[in-house]
């Protein structure tokens, strides 16, 4: 007895708790038919669960479950916290691996027939564990609040909402508010880190207790069952080996395939195909087979059926036969089931929404984005023009091919693009000559415009374009006419004003005007200020709406004469004149009047709690698409205005390569420098177009600005997702682990060899 006191402690504890007996009972279990690697799947699940719990708790030291900081806190954890890449990577890949290994574990139990009497309870508890796993896989991906997670949550909650009878109850329960937002994120969080872990812990205990009561079922062959193996140390050794291999795999995946950065969730973004997490893809795909009124069958019926089918297995398949070769029907149906799930998952994985496909087909954007061709494809146009009018290229086709649609809409509605809607602009009654000048040399009308000159177009093409523009006719006015009862006098004035306000918003007046009582950087005046100052009469307002140029010949405001009927015009006028009594909207917290910009400078409307673009790791690929929408017309293909064939406006700097004074090898510093320009704009000193203030004007969201920044960094060879503080370089860490593992293996082999051969 080298350390008798240790034994004394052991005995003291044993006497009072019985723990030692408990553990030795636990360890000294016999395994019929000997130990096997195929029995390690359960232990692998247990190991993965443990490691998920540890890395999960650890991530809570940094992660914040709020919609403005969730994404940036996670990015901070991943890029700036030592070994954050590993902790997050293990959790990210661990979840995936857990799902897969749980699947294999179930399959193993199924093939071996281990669910049969007396082990039905183990099987049933196992099904509960599968459902809990599904709960984790559903709630987890929402937590980063990135583009993909946001939609995964949205779709998942939507599915829950479509279940008959209890649907809206479940949706409200999961969402906590009328739409996907902060409440939903918090609920996903609480489920993921508190409720589900508690439940899974309890059910794992139950699973283990139920399992240990009857132990391993062993091989189906009765003869083989006679030989006996032991849990400790033989089976545990195998378990530990597999566990360690899984750990190595997790480190490998974390180091070489880090979780993607999808950019901050942006509900406005239509380029993302909403999809659930990969483990629900089969369900998502199944839903497509149940259109319209049949949908509840897909959302509720199918999952319920799958669960019932699994749960009833030990009760329907009652024969004690365990040999899979003698259970042909059950085994084959089982495999058909698994095959179907895998196939549906694959279908769901490759599915792209029509909107996304259309995006890909659009020649100007994604083709360019994907093949890195320059835009617009002038060579193509020249060939088309050279092939002469026989090819009948229409003005409309030209309009689209040239990329005009990147900045202009032709819907007759105020769009969210950089340029004016061209149907709305028709109110200005531009002449043929004016349009021609605008196309060839836009700066001749407005030296600050960011519209690129299309001087290289042939006369023929210019005429085609102009005739197309002239052919555009205003479409139906969107806002529905007021209900007759309302318009037919007698409706209270408040209602009419309110209706006028709706019209005001629907007609896109806010594209050029603000209603806040403070100066803004929009083209038109703030209407509370203007109307309070001049107190215009209703007639004056009406004339302004119908023929703005009557008051100011240089006004760029379009005429609304053809766009509003009399009743609507009156409502609008009522609304506008009611603004004389309106109080200015309060400034956001933390913004002073001076900051909000009396010299016409833009107010940082969204300061305060909302996270700024510099704190967001943007998605570079998405940034590339945005670049083609908003930047390429000045900065040129891939940010290089000197690209041959591209006619860059004056004074526009190259982004590729970017000015050395701006460049910084540290992605965070680099982003902070260019962010200023994207947010607040830069005046052009050479008479060319100004850099627009994309942030201040809200032309782009902060998430989009972050995406663009990632792309510009990428153009200059800087990776926005560079790990700033890895602890140890991920790849080096993996190689180091591998090296040490090899040493351990070699030492063990050497020892084994000496022991066997030399009988030490």
């Amino acid at each position: 007895m080298k350390t008798p006191w240790l034994y004394k402690v052991r005995d003291w504890v044993e006497e009072r708790t019985g723990l030692i007996t408990f553990f030795s009972e636990f360890l000294h279990e016999e395994i019929p038919g000997g130990t096997r690697f195929s029995y390690t799947l359960g232990s692998a699940c247990l190991f993965l669960l443990t490691i998920q719990i540890i890395t999960g708790i650890w991530q809570c030291f940094y992660y914040v479950p709020t919609i403005d900081y969730a994404y940036s806190s996670l990015n901070y954890l991943r890029l700036q916290v030592p070994f954050g890449w590993l902790i997050h990577g293990i959790h990210y890949w661990g979840g995936t691996l857990f799902t897969i290994i749980v699947g294999l574990h179930v399959l193993r139990v199924f093939i071996w027939g281990s669910y049969k009497k007396p082990r039905e309870m183990v099987w049933l508890v196992g099904i509960v564990l599968i459902l809990l796993t599904a709960g984790f896989m559903f709630t987890g991906p929402v937590l980063p609040w990135d583009k993909v997670g946001y939609w995964a949550g949205q779709v998942g909650i939507g599915i829950a909402g479509s279940v008959p009878v209890v649907g809206s109850f479940m949706q409200n329960l999961l969402q906590g508010a009328n739409k996907m937002g902060q409440m939903a994120l918090l609920r996903m969080y609480v489920l993921h880190v508190a409720i589900l872990p508690a439940l899974i812990g309890g059910f794992v205990m139950l699973h283990l207790i139920a399992f240990r009561t009857y132990g391993e079922s062993g091989p189906w062959d009765g003869k083989k069952r006679k030989s006996v193996g032991y849990f400790w140390p033989e089976q545990i050794f195998k378990d530990v080996l597999i566990t360690f291999l899984i750990f190595l795999l997790l480190v490998y995946l974390s180091a070489f395939f880090p979780a993607p950065f999808y950019g901050l969730a942006d509900p406005m973004d239509t380029l993302v195909t909403p999809k659930p997490a990969w483990s629900f893809l089969f369900l998502y795909q199944i839903l497509k087979f149940f259109p319209g009124p049949l949908e509840p069958l897909g959302t509720a019926g199918v999952p319920l059926m799958i669960v019932l089918l699994l749960a009833s297995l030990p009760f329907t398949d009652k024969s004690p036969e365990k040999n899979p070769f003698k259970r042909g029907f059950v085994i084959l149906s089982g495999f058909a089931f698994v095959g179907m799930i895998l196939y549906l998952t694959w279908l769901g994985y490759i599915y792209r929404s029509p909107a996304e496909l259309a995006q890909m087909d659009q020649p100007n954007r994604t083709m360019v984005a994907l093949t890195n061709k320059k835009l617009p494809d002038l060579n193509l146009l020249k060939t088309m023009a050279a092939a002469n009018t026989n090819t009948k290229i229409t003005g409309e086709q030209l309009f689209k091919t040239l990329g005009c649609t990147e900045c202009h809409t032709t819907t007759g509605l105020a769009g969210n693009k950089q340029g004016p809607d061209l149907v709305m602009a028709k109110g200005n009654n531009r002449t043929h000559e004016w349009l021609r000048n605008q196309i060839i040399a836009p700066q001749s009308h407005n030296p600050r415009t960011i519209m690129p000159p299309y001087a290289q177009l042939s006369d023929q093409n210019i005429n085609l374009l102009i005739s197309y523009l002239e052919s555009l006719t205003p479409k139906e006015i969107v806002a529905a006419p007021p209900p007759p009862a309302l318009a037919a006098a007698g409706a209270p004035e408040d209602t009419l004003i309110k209706y006028g306000e709706q019209l005001f918003n629907a007609q896109g007046c806010i594209q050029c005007h603000t209603v806040q009582g403070r100066p803004s950087n929009k083209t038109g005046p703030d209407l509370i200020m203007a109307i309070k100052k001049d107190m215009p009469s209703k007639d004056w307002l009406k004339i302004q709406l119908m023929t703005p140029q009557a008051h100011n010949p240089l006004s760029v405001m379009p005429s609304y004469a053809n766009r509003l009927n009399d009743a609507q015009m009156n409502d609008m006028v009522d609304f506008l004149s009611s603004l004389s009594t309106r109080t200015p909207t309060p400034l956001p917290a933390g913004v002073t009047e001076a900051e909000a910009g009396s010299q016409g400078s833009p107010g940082p409307v969204s300061s305060g709690s909302w996270v700024r673009s510099v704190g967001i790791i943007g998605d570079r690929e998405h940034g590339e698409i945005l670049f083609h929408q908003s930047c390429i017309m000045c900065h040129g293909p891939q940010g290089n205005p000197k690209t041959p064939g591209f006619n860059a406006p004056k004074g526009v700097p190259s982004l590729n390569p970017i000015d050395r004074d701006v460049f910084n090898a540290n992605p965070q510093t680099f982003v902070e420098i260019i962010d200023q320009r994207l947010q607040h704009g830069v005046p052009n000193t050479e008479g060319g177009p100004n850099m627009p203030d994309f942030g201040d004007s809200h032309a782009l969201t902060q998430a989009q600005i972050a995406d663009l920044e990632s792309y510009v960094l990428y153009l200059n060879g800087v990776d926005r997702t560079m790990i700033l503080n890895p602890g140890i370089d991920p790849k080096e860490f993996f190689y180091m682990l591998l090296a040490i593992t090899s040493v351990i293996v070699m030492l063990a082999a050497l020892y084994w060899f000496l022991m066997k051969l030399l009988k030490i």
Binding site: E25, H28, E29, E30, P32, I51, I54, W58, F61, Y62, V64, Y69, S72, S73, N75, Y76, Q80, V81, P82, F83, G84, L86, I87, R212, T213, Y214, G215, V228, Y230, P233, E234, I236, F237, V240, L241, T243, F244, F247, V251, G590, V611, R612, G615, N725, G727, L737, I740, T741, I744, A748, Y751, W752, M755
Partner: protein, 177 residues
Amino acid sequence: MTNHTSTPRSQEPEDIQKRNFIKGLTAAVLGFLSLCLTWPLVSFLVPASNEGTGEKFIKVPNFPAIATGKPTKMTFEDVDVQAFITSNIVYDIWVIKHAADKATVYSPLCTHLNCRYTFVNNEFACPCHGSIFNEDGKVLAGPAPRPLDTLPYKIEGGELYVQWKLYKAGIPEKVEL
């Protein structure tokens, strides 16, 4: 419990040796695995050293406008970045302007236990434990162990720039935290 330890294990020396070998190897692999986990888990919680946030002089607005010779409570704002959150912090200081290019800048915290003192009857008085300092910062009464802490400052172009610092309370020496 049906299957447990009913069959006695082989006690052949060779089997025992093999069993011990497996036990040893299991322990080694498990030990290595725990090490591989513990190291990152611990480092993860120990933040990187502060990236040179000190040594920064921040402008205190309105210095040219304040009266000479009289302690004035002034505030200035700094941007504080902690991890992924950027916030504005307002600091307050006591400034005695001697001339356009000369001043004394006091930390607003009493040297006893870091309470915020006030200026009454031409004395700095701490409300917590009654320490009193004169305008030169000297302790006149109370438990304060050392004079008021001055903060580093510079005056450039008539404007005051101050470096915010914290000092350890309750000891006679001025020790920066």
